[in-house]
Symmetry: C2
Amino acid sequence: MDRSNDDGNDLAPADATLTPLDAARADLLHRLLASGRLLPTGVDGLYGRDQVFNSVLDGIDAALNLLAAPEAPIAATFPPMLPRVTFDQIGYLRKFADLAGPVFSFLGGPEEHKELLKRLDDGADYAPLLTQTDLTLTPACCYPFYATSPKSIEDAGASYTTRGYCFRHEPSKDPMRLQMFEQREQIRVAAPEEVQAWRNLWLERAAEFLSELGLDVTTDVASDPFFGRPGRLMKQHQLSQQLKIEFLVNVYGDDNRTACSSLNYHQDHFGEIFGIRTPSGEIAHSSCIGFGLERIAVALCNQHGVNPDRWGLKLRERLRLA
Amino acid sequence: MDRSNDDGNDLAPADATLTPLDAARADLLHRLLASGRLLPTGVDGLYGRDQVFNSVLDGIDAALNLLAAPEAPIAATFPPMLPRVTFDQIGYLRKFADLAGPVFSFLGGPEEHKELLKRLDDGADYAPLLTQTDLTLTPACCYPFYATSPKSIEDAGASYTTRGYCFRHEPSKDPMRLQMFEQREQIRVAAPEEVQAWRNLWLERAAEFLSELGLDVTTDVASDPFFGRPGRLMKQHQLSQQLKIEFLVNVYGDDNRTACSSLNYHQDHFGEIFGIRTPSGEIAHSSCIGFGLERIAVALCNQHGVNPDRWGLKLRERLRLA
């Protein structure tokens, strides 16, 4: 948005009350805002993007298209929403209540509307006048695929590729943690052994891909941020079964790595919920790998500078920027 | 998603209880679903899109890029959300309460979470356990630009181009009326006479562009669907001042045309709210033209068939499909 000629190399105003980690986060956010790569909206974790930043996202997406091409996935996209019924079937609200984004609207008549206007005039809370709709924001762009996948899959199973916005309610001043962000996902629904082989393939592919972008990436077994006490068992299960593997990038130091990609093995979780069966009649397994497009792009801006024009030719070619 | 080899020319199951208009809508939706262009989610007005349908959307977007190139607009995008503060400043909830999409989440502690789990187990209403966040879905992808526009614009003003998902809570079985859909917008913020000249330019450009796609399009002065009685005066004002001009496409007959593009002159509405001034110190005016990408694509599928492979070469070239 041409908001400055700043090359993004100046430091954010120092704030002595911040921890070193928070100061590093504030500094990175400042560089992204000052260079115009991100555009502020007034809410933490909600930013616009300029054409340069969008080109980097598109470049990562295009490079992943090439990487996924051998398995000829079906490409499709969904709006960043799920039916509430699907959301509840998946159990997202149970497990990640604090991250969820159910959508409300006003379903009242003239009397309630009069009251709504009065509350807006008074700056009063109008939430009690709103009603939950049958829609929720989706926290991952793979979810719609399990719900719409054919109930009887063919021998080789199904392989999908998608890209789209996702929502997780976690306001943060860390530019590596957005509330509404774009994911690029590869999805596999098939017999257990097919899914496991696919997962091993992407475990290698993803680590190699991220390293080739010049990022310092490590892989680790991880667990999801399940809500509260009931989540402890789920965490233990996920860790002991190695169901989630994260690709962690070094942006804030080796001890404060952030996941920029996540490879998940759901076993029969979605197959069971949505009744997806293999030709031999067993419940299908599924796995997905999600790439956080903004996280990778922000990590690249941190690593190589906020001006992709100045990135090395090899990287620019890989991301179709040259 | 390869859900059938159907060429989309079969008719939807006849339903004698439907009006002819609703039957035509059901038939068009059926053709789009049967051919796999749209993917069902279980909620009216929320559909996935296959690669073919997405290519048509991208083609319309690319053609509009060419059309807008002479004015060298600043390209940027925002996630499909607005800060609640901005949403309330704009007055959207006052005017279009029934279309709004405020986002809620769960902000409770362990006790409330226990109650949430209980209600999920019982299939009971859990809405009272949710809290409004400081985010709402955006009903138009131009809104973030007025809020983030420089408060003091230069002589020529600002010209923006954007594309993004928008939400309007209006569930419908009409495939021309989606709940979450993509808009492509051109935006102009400048002195009144600049904005008016820009508007006249796009009035011609848009009509010509849509006609060249082979669509039967007419233009008409229109008003927004303001909510309830207080909206009547706003409608009258909008009509008498000719502030909204719609480009109406013939999909369901000449008497039932649907807007596929809308050219809006806001006068000083956004300039006033967000304090945007011209170099001479007057409040800036603004105008925008929004193209409903799915509406244009659905109209094209209705006009030329659901298989873009079979569209004429000239159209395919224009939309970069050839």
